[in-house]
Assembly symmetry: C2
Homo-oligomer: 344 residues x 2
DNA sequence: CTGAAAGCGCTTACAG
DNA sequence: CTGAAAGCGCTTACAG
């Protein structure tokens, strides 16, 4: 038949009720094994696939998860992070036959509107929140909607929703100690957006470690993660009177553009300048020298977030139980060609 | 009320039937203006948003568009193209209150299964096909499903579905003439996947133009678009006995990694080697020198594809009418620092 | 212009 | 173990 087959079609050819078909299809008691077999065979033969809308309407669930991204097309394109994260999320979702609904928004207000609309429409059963802010209105808002949600990032203690996060402070200490061991005493950092949670975590950790190591100089300049700002800030740092011998970047895009500026200024990397990128992506191996970077498995991170959201949606915990945040492994430093001993 | 309001709630408080509410909400005749106003006011006050599943079930439409990507997390992350395309698509869809459902697949078979399932479930009303192949089974398959579909890429003449495409041959001629004018006579190209349609279009156009210009040497080496292969093929080309003085890359990722190889081999760009990238993205401005590249507005391209799909979904043309493909502006060459006169 | 009813395709108590 | 029925929340002919 060219019309999509329904349970009514199956019921008719099997000579049973629609209820029986539903029980058989969903592996529930209520039909004998023989009948079940027969029904399943007919369903398979007809190529039956349940209509999502009908199913959703009955069980009041959308069988989909939503993700709203507050970033420009430009940023989304250039930052490998998002697509890798989405890949991981999507892998988990599709293995549970859940759909992924994606929307790009311009402002927090728009983003909150999207969540409210999704909730009201029942378009999604849960959402994943990205780009956590140091102060983040979204946490309370989605919690108030009672829309299952997981924050991707953290740590966010005493928050109304759980998060999947990883420690950002330890890598900060690690990288400064590594550079210190290589003899670097004047180090600077081209940091990310100051409003983001992980930026503040790194700000604090870098500050403390720099003080503890008694570095000659350490400063963090904040940026919007773009290559343009990465280049501009790098130029500023490298043309100052006592220029740093090592630069740490909060993402890989800026590190690549920083390397370009070093070339432009005739500084050889790593002889005269060491460069370290934060988010490792294939980008870091594209350059010459290739970039020393902090690596972590972003798709796995996304998968873990999706799994946590699934468990929330399944309502596996008591209403007043502490939301079970999950800590992921911290990023690992992968030394490559862009770091070496300080030339003094 | 904490329960999501339904049209029944509105009907009750307005003292009318559910049908009247539906007419009023959808701007259809069947209610007086006064009643309509009253209903709309109550709906607004209750914060009414229609339940998607119920609406979908009634009107047999999912109010969503699907896109299945057959690329690895790695590729999706590093290629700015996809996220930019998706941004453009999404912008158009959300302005029409349509959702975007995204799925990542491993093989063509999986991809075709996804389309079949989406169709059977009525999860989407239409799909967008990316990464068109020179031979592409998907065109026939989705056409057979009678699932509205638009191919992103082309030209695909006499195809069962329309496409949004742009001319790739003219830019090929243009770039060779440009390099010729700069004095280059030995040129090579690091091309993309040979199975993709636009690769074959470029293969042919480059071949013809090279012959017409009577270049001393022109060759195309095919790759998988990855930085690794870009580097490997560049190394091979630059270490051959008569090395080319200019390299053209089919994407920007490989061009960046080719530039890295030039640095590695101590070749100065553009003095000893000119480099041109195909897909312009912020990546091309990250390097030093910045890369001469072919630019086009990818988000706009995505928007156009989405709009064409919407018109198809609206069923605006007769069943036997020729599918109305849309040609987009060809890519424009943006000369930057990576190209210059041939040194001989 | 308006109301009551049927229907979209599922799921799920409720009787037999 | 099975069947008949109601219900999810909308839309849409069909009568008045």
């Amino acid at each position: 038949m060219s019309r999509r087959p329904t349970i009514a079609d199956i019921a008719r050819t099997a000579g049973v009720s629609k209820g029986a078909v539903s029980y058989a299809l969903n592996g529930r008691p209520g039909v004998s094994d023989a009948t079940r077999e027969r029904i399943l065979a007919i369903a398979a033969e007809l190529g039956f696939v349940p209509n999502r809308a009908a199913r959703s309407l009955s069980v009041s669930s959308a069988e989909a998860v939503g993700i709203a991204l507050r970033r420009s097309a430009r940023t989304l394109g250039i930052e490998p992070y998002f697509m890798e994260l989405i890949s991981g999320i999507e892998a988990t979702l599709s293995s549970h036959s859940l759909g992924l609904t994606l929307q790009i928004v311009g402002t927090v207000e728009e983003e909150l509107d999207v969540y409210r609309r999704w909730w009201a429409e029942r378009r999604v059963d849960g959402v994943l929140l990205c780009d956590l802010g140091a102060e983040d209105r979204r946490l309370e808002s989605v919690a108030k909607l009672r829309l299952p949600a997981v924050a991707v990032g953290g740590p966010i203690d005493h928050a109304p929703i759980p998060s999947v996060w990883h420690d950002d402070a330890e890598p900060c200490r690690e990288v400064l100690e590594y550079l210190y061991a290589l003899g670097h005493r004047r180090i600077a950092r081209v940091a990310g957006l100051p409003r983001l949670l992980h930026t503040t975590v790194r700000d604090a950790a870098f500050g403390e470690a720099a003080k503890r190591l008694e570095l000659e100089a350490f400063e963090s300049l904040h940026s919007d993660y773009s290559g343009e700002q990465g280049a501009r800030l790098t130029r500023r740092l490298l043309t100052s009177r006592s220029r740093p011998t090592a630069l740490v970047y909060d993402n890989d895009v800026m590190a690549v553009s920083g390397l370009g500026v070093a070339h432009e200024l005739g500084l050889s990397v790593p002889d005269q300048l060491s460069i370290i990128a934060w988010d490792d992506s294939p980008l870091c191996r594209l350059t010459h020298p290739s970039l020393t970077a902090f690596s972590r498995d972003i798709p796995a991170y996304g998968s873990r977030a999706a799994e946590l959201l699934l468990s929330l949606m399944a309502g596996e915990r008591a209403p007043d139980e502490e939301p079970p945040s999950i800590q992921s492994p911290a990023a690992q430093l992968s030394p490559r060609g862009s770091t070496g001993p300080a030339s003094g």
